[in-house]
């Protein structure tokens, strides 16, 4: 997989994960073009399209579009299921996930994605194992929070 983008129906980018090195300018350009192209698609159209020299696989869940770019020889249907599996993981973790959850806990969304995909490839396909790993990380975080008696700065972009 080359990259994955999550964006709302208004075209606002909620999450972006790039598995190929690209400059910021290029990323912005690609995002802009792709968002336009996907939003222009009608509901009954198929989930795959060819764009530049990549294949784009996308699916809409409620108000969010999940969009993945894969290479020519990759399997489209399985990518569709990767998207679905990711949504399932988010759902299990957040309990009935909605767009707001992703907006306010974007770093958790990234962590879950990292446990599931690494370097653009599926890492762990067992839902249980992925969620277990996230749980462990969370436990440790809570421990440190209680030790320091303060809420950690997760969620605050200006921490650094």
């Amino acid at each position: 997989m080359q990259f994955m983008l999550l964006f709302s129906r208004q075209g606002k980018l909620r999450l972006q994960k790039w598995y190929v090195p690209l400059s910021d300018k290029e990323k912005k350009k690609i995002t802009r073009e792709l968002v336009q192209t996907v939003l222009a698609r009608k509901p009954k159209m198929c989930s795959f399209l060819e764009w530049r020299d990549l294949k784009i696989v996308y699916k809409r869940y409620a108000s969010l579009y999940f969009c993945c770019a894969i290479e020519d020889q990759d399997n489209e249907l399985i990518t569709l299921e990767i998207i679905h599996r990711y949504v399932e993981l988010l759902d299990k973790y957040f309990g009935s996930v909605c767009e707001l959850d992703i907006i306010f806990n974007f770093e958790k969304a990234y962590f879950i994605l990292d446990e599931f995909l690494l370097g653009g490839e599926v890492q762990e396909t067992s839902k249980k194992n992925v969620l277990k790993a996230i749980e462990q990380a969370d436990l440790l975080q809570e421990k440190t929070e209680t030790m320091y008696h303060s809420r950690s700065f997760i969620g605050c972009k200006k921490a650094y």
């Binding site: 198929c46 399997n75 249907l77 490839e121 396909t125 990380a137």
Partner: protein
């Protein structure tokens, strides 16, 4: 910034935050990177799985070259160590994959590779999944190292596919066992050719099981179940197509896809069309694919999704052969009328290719192309109409028909400019074939064309002017009318230089030349030589490495008798040594008294052709330049108004390296710049030249460099020829020069005393070994210059050897791969007569002769 790595050690959360920060925001800041790398190194060595995991994630997310340098050695060890935890192994595998993708040279193969292959047997399916991805990518560059993975992958796949849904527990996804892993294993198997029979049997069984399962009723109504199941199915079909060796599997796959063609779900229809394209090229299943033609045509007409329609077009193109060509072309043409603008050009190219390939009756071909121009004229690129003209010229039987059809088409009130171009050209050449009919008399033809004249672009008008002069030749009765047109102020004083020049010159020609000369000058165009269709090349360029067009090639190779063989080609050599191409070259055979080399159709030759056209005769002055380079290695080899070629070479023993510098002297880009080294059949075995291709685009004012590695295998006499072809503006340039790689370049000087010299001289006394030449001096006989030349030639200049101090004596060894040949030379000047006597003695006659000839030219 600096405190961040320090924080990385403090706590889990800071660590997480730290890594997140790094992976999202840091690009390449060397100070920070060093510190980060240190922190990561510590984490990797820590043996704590959480820390190791985080560190690996960070490396995989950033994946920069610096990280690769730092960690590419460590990670394989972590991957194969026995005590590494499973989760860490997974991360390590994918991290290594990421590093390999960005910096493949930093990940060396080692004995860890065989252990990675064994990970395929691991209990933990997550590890197997990660390992499979890693092996698939590595195996593409190092197939030998990972050969053993094939049988392991096949047996693993078997086990998964035949497992009951409860076996794999959490790895079962909506009742489909380990779909991701299955897909990955199938991908891995596609990196290798079909395995040997033992494994193959197992694999075939496994694939059949997958195909069978697709026919069973679904275990769940959810779309996820069917998607996962079908994902495995499609990948299995890809593998079957890749192997291309089991006919029954291929046919079954084809039938399965045929079912999907009419499935309710658009996704499946799309994928089925796509997969069938690849199937269509396999000879086993080609016929099976063709049976679905009606379904595909229906899809083309009724699908609402444009991307699905596009796939349908691709499939029609792939499944086209002689039996259904007419039907398919007709369907594609009718689709073209309503097609999306973005894909029109591609469809035009495809229709043109198909029409040409499968034309049995060329009148059909002409009709199709004219229809193309009518429907989508804007998207008919130049290659297409060049091609139709080439074909019409090459085939006598269709010329009359073409003239008639074009004439009729031009009568439409609004016709596309491309049609005017084609029509203009064809009527110019073959208008006489329909001139007998009163409805298409010469004057009517002329008026028809001229009515469109003012609507056309400059290029078209230029073409029409040429047609007019051809008309003057063909139909003398129109001479007055046409001359009137040419004489008009709008032509003779036209702002565009090309038009003005043509008008003036054609007017003069028609006034001055007698009918015979006119007829010779404007003789009918000779047939074009057969070359690879440039349309195909253009399509390939457009589609990139698309499988459909590549299969075309494969198909062409298999069905060799497609078009009734190439035409006889007595065409004249293509050469336009100067940019101001011979105007009359458009229609002319060479006029009898003229000296310059014949040139055929500057504009209309298949200029986009990939394969080299006939090599231009050697550029004037080539011999002198060549001679200049015998005794020196650097300098300018060739120069004209557009291009400068410089050389810099160095030689050692029997090897040499030559840098050729091509300088673009103009401000316009050169396109399709192709230098080729040509060695004649005699030269080929004796001189080995190796070079890499040069960037085909040379910017204005830029210089590109080409390195040639030279090896002298054995002694040789001829010189290789460097042929350069490129496009400058609208013209086609073709230049040839002799490349000064001569035998004396491999000459190594040998110092020796007088006695040794004469001893050897006596040894080489047989008549074959000595070659003598007495010649007049071409240059002033200056001693110092002569000495310098001999040294430049490669020989050692021996002092105090010859009793006559005015004579020059030299010795050296010619190095070839096979042998070394000792050479002795003696140059005796005669100042009064301004002549020289040169004696060469070597152990090989051919060498003596060649060296003597080379050296004689220098003085």
């Amino acid at each position: 910034m600096v405190p961040v790595p320090g924080r990385l050690k403090r706590s889990q959360t800071s660590q997480l935050k730290g890594y997140l920060f790094i992976s999202v925001l840091v690009n390449s800041n060397s100070e920070l990177i060093r510190l980060i790398n240190n922190a990561i190194k510590n984490d990797l060595a820590s043996r704590n799985p959480t820390f190791m995991g985080l560190a690996l994630h960070c490396i995989a997310n950033v994946g920069s070259r610096e990280m690769a340098e730092a960690f590419a050695g460590e990670i394989p060890k972590i991957l194969v160590a026995g005590d590494t935890m499973d989760s860490v192994k997974q991360s390590a595998a994918l991290c290594l994959l990421r590093l390999y993708r960005t910096s493949p040279d930093l990940v060396p193969m080692g004995d860890w590779t065989s252990r990675v292959v064994h990970l395929l047997n691991d209990q933990h399916l997550g590890v197997v999944t990660a390992a499979t991805s890693l092996i698939s990518t590595l195996a593409q560059k190092n197939p030998e190292e990972f050969k053993t993975s094939v049988s392991l992958a096949a047996s693993r796949l078997s086990r998964i596919v035949t497992s009951a849904s409860t076996d794999l527990q959490d790895y079962t996804y909506y009742f489909v066992p380990a779909p991701w892993l299955s897909v990955k294993l199938l991908r891995l198997l596609q990196c290798y050719p079909p395995p040997d029979p033992a494994v193959r049997g197992r694999l075939t069984e496994c694939l059949e099981t997958v195909l069978n399962k697709a026919q069973e009723p679904p275990k769940s109504k959810k779309v996820q179940h069917s998607n996962a199941k079908n994902a495995v199915l499609f990948e299995a079909i890809s593998l079957i197509i890749h192997h291309d060796s089991e006919p029954n599997l291929l046919v079954r796959a084809c039938n399965q896809l045929g079912q999907f063609l009419q499935h309710r779900e658009t996704n499946l229809r799309y994928l089925a069309l796509e997969s069938m394209c690849t199937l269509a090229s396999s000879e086993f299943s080609h016929e099976a694919v063709k049976t679905h033609i009606e379904t595909v045509i229906n899809a083309l007409k009724t699908e609402r999704d444009v991307s699905v329609r596009q796939r349908a077009v691709d499939l029609l193109y792939a499944m086209c052969d002689r039996s259904n060509a007419q039907q398919i072309v007709a369907e594609m043409l009718s689709y073209l009328e309503t097609a999306d603008y973005s894909i029109r050009e591609e469809i035009v190219l495809k229709v043109a290719i198909l029409a040409e390939k499968y034309a049995v009756d060329y009148t059909w071909y002409v009709d199709t192309i004219l229809n193309l121009i009518r429907i989508a004229g804007d998207y008919v690129s130049e290659e297409v109409w060049y091609r139709v003209i080439q074909i019409v010229i090459n085939r006598d039987d269709v010329q009359g028909y073409a003239a008639k059809t074009v004439f009729e088409a031009l009568q439409a009130p609004a016709c596309h400019e491309n049609l005017v171009k084609v029509g203009g050209y064809i009527l110019g050449e073959f208008g006489n074939l329909i001139a007998g009919d009163p409805r298409s008399s010469p004057l009517i033809q002329f008026n028809l064309l001229h009515s469109k004249f003012h609507l056309c672009s400059v290029a078209t008008r230029a073409l029409l002017l040429s047609t007019y002069i051809k008309f003057i030749n063909l139909f003398p009765e129109t001479k007055a009318t046409i001359q009137g047109v040419l004489r008009a102020g709008s032509q003779l004083r036209n702002a565009d230089v090309e038009l003005q020049q043509r008008a003036v010159e054609y007017l003069r020609l028609s006034t001055v030349a007698s009918t015979d000369i006119l007829a010779t000058v404007l003789e009918e165009m000779p047939p074009f030589p057969e070359r690879e269709s440039s349309i195909l090349a253009k399509l390939k360029k457009k589609k990139g490495p698309n499988t459909v067009t590549d299969l075309e090639e494969a198909k062409r190779e298999r069905s060799a008798d497609v078009n009734g063989g190439p035409e006889p080609a007595p065409a004249s050599a293509v050469s336009t040594p100067s940019p101001s191409a011979d105007l009359l070259g458009l229609g002319a055979a060479p006029p009898a008294p003229a000296g310059p080399p014949p040139s055929s159709g500057g504009l209309l030759v298949d200029v986009f052709s990939d394969s080299p056209s006939a090599v231009a005769p050697l550029a004037p002055g080539s011999e002198d330049n060549f001679a200049r380079f015998v005794c020196k290695n650097n300098g300018v080899l060739f120069e004209n108004q557009l291009l400068q070629i410089g050389l810099k070479s160095e030689f050692r023993q029997n090897l040499g390296r030559m840098f050729i510098f091509y300088g673009n002297k103009t401000s316009t880009q050169f396109l399709s710049f192709t230098p080729t080294l040509i060695c004649s059949d005699d030269l080929q075995p004796n001189l080995s030249l190796q070079t890499k291709p040069v960037d085909p685009t040379v910017d204005g004012g830029a210089q590109v460099q080409q390195v040639v590695n030279i090896e002298c295998v054995s002694d040789f006499t001829e010189a290789p020829v460097l042929n350069i072809q490129f496009r400058y503006g609208g013209t086609f340039q073709n230049v040839s020069v002799k490349l000064p790689i001569t035998l004396n370049k491999f000459f190594q000087p040998t110092e020796m005393a007088s006695q040794d010299f004469f001893q050897r001289w006596k040894q080489l006394s047989s008549p074959q070994q000595e070659v003598q030449n007495i010649f007049k001096a071409k240059h002033p006989m200056d001693t110092e210059i002569t000495k310098a030349k001999i040294i430049g030639f490669g020989s050692a200049l021996l002092e105090d050897v010859d009793p006559n101090p005015a004579n020059f004596v030299g010795a050296g060894i010619i190095h070839t791969r096979t042998t070394q040949i000792g050479c002795l030379l003696r140059l005796e000047p005669n100042l009064q007569a301004q002549m020289y006597r040169l004696t060469l003695r070597t152990s090989k006659e051919a060498v003596s002769r060649r060296l003597c000839a080379l050296l004689s030219e220098q003085f």
